[in-house]
């Protein structure tokens, strides 16, 4: 099984997210797409699912082009693990039992405990939702799909995704975490100016 992107360029709202990006994701490998917030990691996954159309370049699966018309058929081969929902409000902090975790902060609040507010290391990494169970449809798809696309998965999924890759499946994850980057067979770093492979 092979998922290939060739000379892929994508702009959203007038901003170029990535340009002339090429890579191949093979079965049996875990590929990690990383990069700073807003560099198009999630958008790239959506391109692979056919929800977004490239400005230039192509996506192919087993040599067959992924187009808006063929995408529904290809999606039947995929399991998509969405990014755990980030908070929509301006979160000051999250405290869960036994673990103090800090979310991204919105506009600086001017109320009493603003001094206790901390900045998160990475704004779009939902650290606090490690233990959120996957939706049923994802669990079912994980059992059968040869292509697995995981958007900013929690650490608890790392070993599972790795073992799924070991079964010969294509696993593509987006993450900024060192653990995922280190455990991946291939890392694609997205940046505003240049995208490269490590």
């Amino acid at each position: 099984m092979l998922l290939e992107l060739k000379n892929a360029s994508l702009s959203l709202n007038g901003r170029t997210l990535f340009s002339r990006l090429s890579f191949m994701a093979h079965g049996g490998q875990m590929t990690c797409i990383t990069g700073a917030s807003g560099t198009g990691k999630t958008a790239l996954l959506r391109v692979m699912m056919g929800f977004l159309t490239l400005d230039e370049g192509l996506v192919s699966i087993e040599g067959e082009l992924l187009t808006p018309l063929s995408a529904p058929a290809f999606r039947k081969l995929m399991a998509y693990l969405p990014q755990p929902e980030p908070p929509t409000g301006s979160i000051v902090k999250v405290r869960t039992r036994g673990l103090e975790t800090v979310w991204t902060a919105g506009p600086t609040p001017a109320f009493s405990h603003s001094a206790q507010m901390l900045q998160a290391d990475n704004a779009d990494e939902p650290h606090a939702q490690e233990d959120i169970p996957l939706p049923d449809i994802c669990e079912q798809a994980l059992k059968r799909a040869p292509i697995i696309l995981a958007d900013a998965p929690g650490l608890s999924l790392l070993s599972r995704l790795k073992s799924l890759a070991a079964e010969g499946r294509i696993v593509v994850v987006t993450s900024c975490r060192e653990e995922f980057i280190n455990m991946s067979d291939k890392t694609i770093i997205l940046g505003n100016d240049d995208n490269h492979l490590r």
């Binding site: 958008a43 929800f51 999606r75 980030p86 908070p87 409000g89 506009p107 405990h113 606090a128 798809a141």
Partner: protein, 548 residues
């Protein structure tokens, strides 16, 4: 029957009695009532004139044309009151209504009533009018629910598609939500219909010469037909709107709103011809609301396409720079503090509701044009699942009780919308929500007007038990009581607390008064930490309603 112009004008003298009473007790309402009465008179006169024309010419083609006009008016009303974008959705909505209404009208006319001339003005026009009015009323809510759910919960849709579901399968949960909204609206409509509409319609038919049995049977046929028409219209609309709403890759299109001309046209047509829909009482047992008379479930379907950063975009609301009191961090229970435009909430994942909600109520915030009738309770995506949903409350006999009330958020559309998030809601006994709790909310608004501003914190109280009572599949915990503390900084600072058991037993506000110290003991929450210690100690130790 002969009613002359002179006799009808003399009948209007009757209006002098309520008019005088209104002028005497609430003069402000007299003008509003007079305008409403005048508008109704003009509408009725215009409608009467149009009907006279139809009766006078008695042409099947003219009657069919009138039916088409009624369907278009119904579609426009649906789009307007459903807050839907005109350009992409007007035609699908009109086609859906046409399909539903035409089919059911044909069955009623040709299969049930079977008059000598089914296309006559006497039969065709009233039946089409009844059906279109009902469909517009109900489907505005249903379609708004459908598109609003798609907009706000697009991730579920993409997750379904991304895991190989077909478009139809991915849309099924949203259609189900819309049908549920239709069902709730229909139940509400039916309860109103039984009490008000049916006696009026029956009276009309009896006065028109129809026998009592035939009139009752016709009403039954019309009621069943209306429910069938609304369902057909909804399904056909969703089906037809599919291509206009989604692009080929399955992504929700950028919604194109209508231009000014269309908006004006809508405004003129629907205001002049159509009576205001959505006046039905929400039939859901838990939907009882207290400080507004209208309970339609409609929210804005905005034109924002959500992309991968959609969730973050909502963080960009301008944060008010008002400094207000929020309680000290909680050590003994889970807490996720979320800042909204008008309030701050400490959310507890275990109880699926707030530990507390705090806000700053100013005099200016007690007024505003944003009405709760345009909102619906919404699942809060900011917090992890399992979390409270409408379904949890739907099957319970408890109200979705606001903590930061809608009445304190009329000043801003976002604030009003956010007050309907389930993280600002707790299961509340209906009687408490309707009476005592509502009274305290009104009292707080009065204080805000009197003192310029007050700080308020409120929330549920739980007593320790091995088997806590919960509602719904998501196990939203039932509060044993509710508390509210209010701080006034104007002049010599003062504070007061209220504690109500969530059992609906009638209590006076005076007997619910507690000191803030007592509330702190009952809740384990430390309030008003910003104050200097001496002031805090003083105001938290005493509470007298007569001081306020």
């Amino acid at each position: 029957m002969t009613i002359t112009y002179v006799s009808i004008i003399s009948c209007l003298v009757l209006a002098a009695i309520p008019g005088w009473l209104l002028w005497y007790f609430t003069p402000r309402l007299l003008r509003i009532t007079a305008i409403a009465a005048l508008r109704m008179t003009v509408q009725t006169a215009v409608l009467g004139g149009l009907l006279w024309l139809l009766w006078h010419y008695e042409s099947p083609w003219l009657n069919l044309a009138a039916a088409v006009v009624l369907i278009m008016v119904s579609a426009l009303t649906t789009v307007r009151y459903g807050r839907l974008p005109v350009r992409p959705l007007l035609l699908p909505v009109a086609a859906g209504i046409a399909a539903g209404v035409a089919l059911t009208a044909a069955i009623i006319l040709f299969g049930v009533v079977r008059p000598v001339s089914p296309l006559s003005a006497q039969w065709l026009v009233p039946i089409i009018a009844v059906l279109t009015a009902h469909v517009a009323t109900v489907n505005a809510t249903a379609l708004n629910t459908y598109f609003n759910a798609l907009r706000t919960d697009r991730q579920t849709y993409l997750t379904q598609l991304g895991n190989g579901a077909s478009r139809r399968q991915a849309l099924t949960p949203y259609v189900a939500r819309a049908l549920r909204a239709t069902a709730a609206s229909t139940v509400g409509n039916l309860s109103v219909t039984c009490l008000i509409a049916i006696p009026m319609l029956l009276s009309g038919m009896l006065m028109g010469g129809v026998g009592p049995l035939a009139a009752a049977l016709l009403l039954i046929a019309l009621t069943v037909g209306a429910i069938a028409a609304q369902t057909i219209a909804l399904i056909v609309t969703v089906w037809l709107a599919d291509r206009r709403v989604f692009d080929r890759s399955g992504t929700l299109r950028q919604v194109i709103t209508g231009g000014k001309a269309a908006a004006w046209f809508l405004f003129v047509v629907t205001t002049f011809i159509a009576c205001k829909p959505n006046t039905a009482v929400d039939g859901v047992p838990s939907a009882t609301e207290t400080d507004s008379s209208v309970t339609s479930k409609v929210t804005t379907f905005s034109s924002h396409e959500q992309n991968s950063t959609a969730a973050k975009s909502t963080q960009k609301h301008k944060s008010p720079t008002v400094q207000y009191e929020i309680p000290a961090p909680l050590k003994d229970r889970p807490e996720q503090v979320l800042r909204r435009k008008a309030y701050t909430v400490s959310y507890n994942q275990d109880t699926r509701q707030a530990n507390w909600v705090a806000w700053h109520l100013t005099k200016a915030h007690t007024y505003g044009r944003n009405q709760r009738s345009q909102e619906q309770f919404t699942e809060d995506n900011s917090v992890a699942r399992p979390r409270a949903t409408d379904d949890d409350y739907y099957s319970s006999r408890y109200d979705r009780g606001h903590l930061c009330p809608a009445g304190d958020n009329k000043w801003d559309a976002t604030a009003m919308s956010e007050s309907f998030l389930f993280t600002n809601v707790c299961p509340q006994n209906h009687a408490l929500n309707k009476y005592e709790w509502n009274d305290v909310e009104i009292l707080c608004r009065e204080w805000a007007r009197e003192y310029g501003a007050v700080d308020i914190v409120c929330g549920p109280v739980f007593t320790e038990t091995a088997t806590p009572k919960t509602i719904g599949r998501n196990r939203v915990r039932m509060p044993d009581a509710l508390f509210k503390v209010v701080l006034c900084r104007s002049g010599k600072p003062k504070a007061i607390g209220f504690y109500f058991k969530n059992d609906g037993k009638k209590v006076s506000i005076e007997s619910a008064v507690r000191t803030v110290d007592e509330i702190e003991q009952l809740t384990g929450i430390d309030f008003f930490t910003l104050l200097d210690d001496a002031t805090e100690e003083r105001i938290e130790a005493q509470a007298q309603l007569k001081d306020w």
